[in-house]
């Protein structure tokens, strides 16, 4: 089972998708190497070879074989290293329910969030409304639980918590306040950071991500 494993993660510090994988690996106590990709300007040959279809990070390379797409990678990690810190519940319905919410987060948050700092006018307004609606749905799903699955940190928490590091950027460009809009989610995020070393050691500081987003806007030629 745990024979000599070679694990390499193709990574980018600001990517919430990469953060998911790093959190999952840390939860399981799995050692790995990582390569920071110069994702915006100069993708490595290794990345292009390992993910020829999408050319995106994260990519986890396990004994030379690539696994792509963060949600797929996290599920893979959970299945292979199933002896410690299970991320998905074992009950099939609870598992499906967790997958549904992780899938919702995947379908919605990144793209709509991106619109907050790349668009203006009507498109920006529509995105802002939709973004807040998504978070309200997540807030309702979390309810008064400590974590999405109840008392234990799991798959949906891993999927969502990296977005917390982007909150300052979203608040600034979306012109709203998360504490005001979804206080339970903010409390949940702080709980994850306080209780989970895998999270506190992985998430970059919010101002650092905000600076990165400012840099991105310059690169896209977006003015204030």
């Amino acid at each position: 089972m745990a024979e000599q494993q070679q694990l390499v993660l193709l990574d980018f510090w600001a990517s919430m998708f990469c953060m998911r994988v790093r959190i999952a690996l840390a939860e399981k106590g799995i050692p790995y190497e990582f390569t920071e990709e110069d994702f915006l300007n100069n993708k490595s040959q290794l990345l292009l070879d390992m993910n020829p279809v999408h050319k995106k990070i994260p990519v986890l390379i396990h004994n030379g074989k690539p696994i792509c797409e963060s949600s797929i990678i996290v599920q893979y990690i959970d299945e292979v290293w199933n002896h410690k810190a299970p991320l998905l519940p074992s009950d099939p319905y609870a598992k499906a329910h967790a997958r549904f919410w992780a899938d919702f987060i995947d379908k919605k948050l990144y793209q709509i969030g991106r619109n907050l700092y790349t668009t203006k006018g009507e498109e920006h307004e529509a995105s802002r409304t939709e973004f807040l609606e998504c978070f309200k749905l997540l807030e309702a799903e979390l309810g008064d639980k400590s974590y999405f699955a109840g008392e234990t940190f799991g798959y949906v928490d891993v999927s969502l918590i990296p977005f917390y590091s982007w909150f300052q950027a979203y608040e600034t460009y979306g012109n709203f306040n998360f504490e005001h809009e979804c206080p339970k989610l903010v409390a949940w995020a702080k709980r994850c950071i306080k209780n989970k070393e895998s999270v506190s050691k992985t998430l970059p500081e919010l101002p650092k991500v905000y600076d990165f987003v400012q840099h991105l806007r310059k690169q896209y030629g977006i003015n204030d």
Partner: protein, 232 residues
Amino acid sequence: MGTSSSEIKLLGTAASPFVNRVQFVLSLKSIEYEYIDENLACKSELLLKSNPVYQKVPVLIHENKPPLPESLIIIEYLDEIYPDVHPILPSDPLIRADNRFWANYIDTKVFPLYEELRKTPEKEGKEAIKKQIMEVSQLLEEAFLKFSDGKPYFGGDKIGYLDVVLGCFLGWTKFVEKHNEFMIFDEVKTPKLLEWTKRIWSHEALKDAIPGSETLMNFYMMLMKYKPPRAA
């Protein structure tokens, strides 16, 4: 080893490939179910309550559990609760991850590109999208060669996850090909996939689920009405 039909209910509409996909799996696993037909132009209270987040079909209702939407999630759930009859996903985690990767690719490309083609009014725009569709089918041919490894299906000797995920689009693929006068799967560029489409099309478990051209045309007209093409 059938299950009583009251245990499983499926909310669907005949023209939806995502619904067909779930029906394909239910059929492969010999699971009886109650089918509840939805009119997407006038969604029922049951659908709106069962899938408040997306308000889409398919939705699976199993016994007294809360309803479960999203076809790929439903399929994995069915595979876990009925693991002994015709397993759909492979057991090896790496091959499973690869299957999930290609399912995700198929779902982000195939139907969205067909929809994009429908919504694009001008000829030049349509030609550009047709080109993208053919690039996708080329990649899928390569994926098929890898997964099938000389055997008849993506799943090998038996129908597997990607056969179900891609196979459900065959009705719409033929419709789009006819309507737009081009071949998405052909003998030159995608010979193995073309053979596969014939195999899948005639498979016991799928042939009753794939909608006929009249059903597709009616659905197409509804889409044209409620989600019309962009202004030229």
